[in-house]
Amino acid sequence: MLRLEPRLEASRTWAALTPVMAVAATMVAGAVMFALLGKDPLVAIRTIFWAPLFDPALAAYARPQILVKAAPLILIAIGLSLGFRANIWNIGAEGQYVMGAVAGGGAALAFYPLDAWWLFPFMLFCGLLGGLLWGLIPAFLKVTFRANEILVSLMLVYVAEQYLASVALGLLRNPDGAGFPGSRNLQTYESAHNAELIAGTGIHLGVVTAALAVVMVYALLRMHRTGFEIKLSGQSPRAARFAGVNQAVLTYFCLGTGGAFAGLAGIFELSGPSGQLSIDFNVGYGFTAIIVAFLGRLHPFGIVFAGLLMALTYIGGEMAQFMLNLPSAAIQAFQGMLLFFLLSMEFLTRYRIRIRRLERN
């Protein structure tokens, strides 16, 4: 009979293997799903996972796009991973992302059409601040009233989305836009435009910032006391209390960092690839980043791979959309399945399966 035995320590081998196995399982299950829906499974899988990287006709467009999509995912996920490690569940990154974009974009548009060197850093700062403050709301309510941060941060996503809708239609609407909803396009606003650093590569300042954030968080977790406290609170809250970890400060820190990173991701996206603050400005990066954080096993370098992979599925999904006539939401089925497989296999890192013969007495 099969018996489960908890491991004393999470298995490192399995921790590294499970994401790979989960991706493989998702491809197989995805192929089955497409076959059942009457699409050629091999073509579909090839279009989603292979074509964006290696197809000679498409890769030139798709490769930079992968970086563009991966940057916000990685930046948000890396911030979230701190909280997840400490058992602080910020699932409102989508809202913090939106508020970062609104705050930063609003700041830049307030000075339109100013031409000044300080406008760009000021806009980024406001974006960071918008996300930070939005992330601190659940932290404050958790510390002061013990309100569940999962539910509060989630509710704030919808408040932020409605706020975005109201400013896109009102306060920040483009005065020269013939009454159409949406703000001025920041791509045409010289001093606020987050342009590509090297043309044609997709690398903009947000990509660089995401890379920096990964290194910073890695160093924090490895070398800094706060990093140690985060890990300790997650693994053993009781031990953390005895060690004198200030849970309130940690809550503010984790939710604040998550919010600030998400806000930055928002303003980089707004001033760069997206350009315009519109009702449908946010496309779910904040939620997908949660998958990225888990897929990367909350490890900074793991998150980089996970973010790139998830960006690949986005681009592949877009290609499948116009080449195979798949609905655009189909890619979410993939992402959901990936997370299912990952979560179920994660089991193997924490438990060992022992085969035991039934004993008779």
């Binding site: 009233f145 706020y163 959901g336 997370l339």
Partner: protein, 310 residues
């Protein structure tokens, strides 16, 4: 301003119909949360219920068959969540989100060729002369059958949780799973059953949208109703009758917008739409901060993983 343009009776009647989808989903999620499980996948359950109910209704030509299909589909999807969280001890937050993503994606794939079709209509019970009564007729006797079923369901859940032995066991499991386990209650089995019930209700709520409320299939037809249902459970502090009240209020908010516009009151629609979420946060703060009385209703083991020791 001319409030005369708003007919209060019609408003209440439409408010009740608007409340149905979230009511079904929320009453299911309430039972799930009372057993100590936080399933954030309600939106996924609803949309899978919506698409499967719609497809089966169109193919079979019967809306009632469609509803049954949606109940099974919702429960089947919830079973994935149940197996992952209860047997594989996966993180409930992440699993719930995966459920929503998967549900949204799969429903878009399944429903691709069903957009723009009109589903078979749903039967309305005939109350004969009662339906023609001056005020009560409009208020009580002109709904579709599911509205009456929802009333039965809410009372049943209220009775089950408050007055039945099994309901007491379910609450015990949600309150303190270790204590419940040592008393001999089957924690995992109880939770799986609760999750299945939640899935069935979520599926039904989704089908209500696609088959009765809209009625049509479009991608993402549930439009965030699942998240509202989650908010509603907290807002009602885990009490069935308050869920009804809350569902009418939340459902009413959307209608109020339309009516306000009709009589010319200038309120930014966005601020009205964010109201349910803000109210929920306030309710959450009040519940968590106000010491014992109200906090007692919140299941203590909510979202915590359970692993039987030995």
């Amino acid at each position: 301003m001319d409030f005369g343009a708003i007919n209060p009776l019609t408003l209440i009647a439409t408010m009740i119909v608007a409340a149905m989808p979230v009511l079904f989903a929320a009453i299911g999620e309430l039972v799930v949360e009372k057993s100590g499980v936080l399933n954030l996948g309600v939106e996924g359950l609803m949309i899978i219920g919506a698409v499967s109910g719609f497809i089966v209704a169109v193919e079979s030509g019967s809306a009632v068959t469609g509803l049954f299909a949606s109940v099974f589909a919702g429960a089947a999807l919830a079973l994935i969540f149940g197996i992952l969280t209860q047997f594989f001890h996966s993180n409930q937050v992440a699993t719930g989100l995966a459920l929503t993503l998967f549900g949204l994606g799969l429903s878009a794939l399944l429903g691709q060729s069903y957009a723009g079709i009109k589903p078979p209509s749903f039967p309305y019970p005939d109350f004969g002369p009662l339906a023609d009564l001056p005020v009560l007729g409009l208020l009580l006797f002109r709904y579709d059958a599911l509205v009456y079923f929802s009333a039965v369901l809410v009372v049943a859940v209220w009775w089950f949780l408050g007055y039945s032995r099994a309901g007491l066991a379910l609450r015990a499991v949600g309150e303190n799973h270790d204590a419940a386990h040592s008393l001999g209650y089957k924690v995992v089995r109880t939770r799986i059953l609760a999750i299945l019930f939640g899935g069935a209700c979520g599926g039904l709520g989704g089908a209500y949208i696609a088959l009765i409320r809209v009625p049509q299939w479009t991608d993402g037809v549930t439009a965030g109703a699942g998240w509202i249902a989650l908010a509603l459970v907290v807002f009602s502090s885990w009490r069935p009758f308050r869920v009804v009240l809350g569902a009418c209020l939340f459902g009413g908010v959307t209608l109020l917008q339309l009516n306000f516009q009709a009589v010319g009151i200038e309120i930014n629609a966005a601020y009205l739409s964010m109201a349910p979420y803000l109210v929920t946060i306030l309710a959450l703060v009040a519940i968590s901060g106000s010491g014992r009385r109200a906090a007692l209703d919140a299941p203590d083991s909510l979202g915590k993983p359970f692993r039987a020791s030995a």
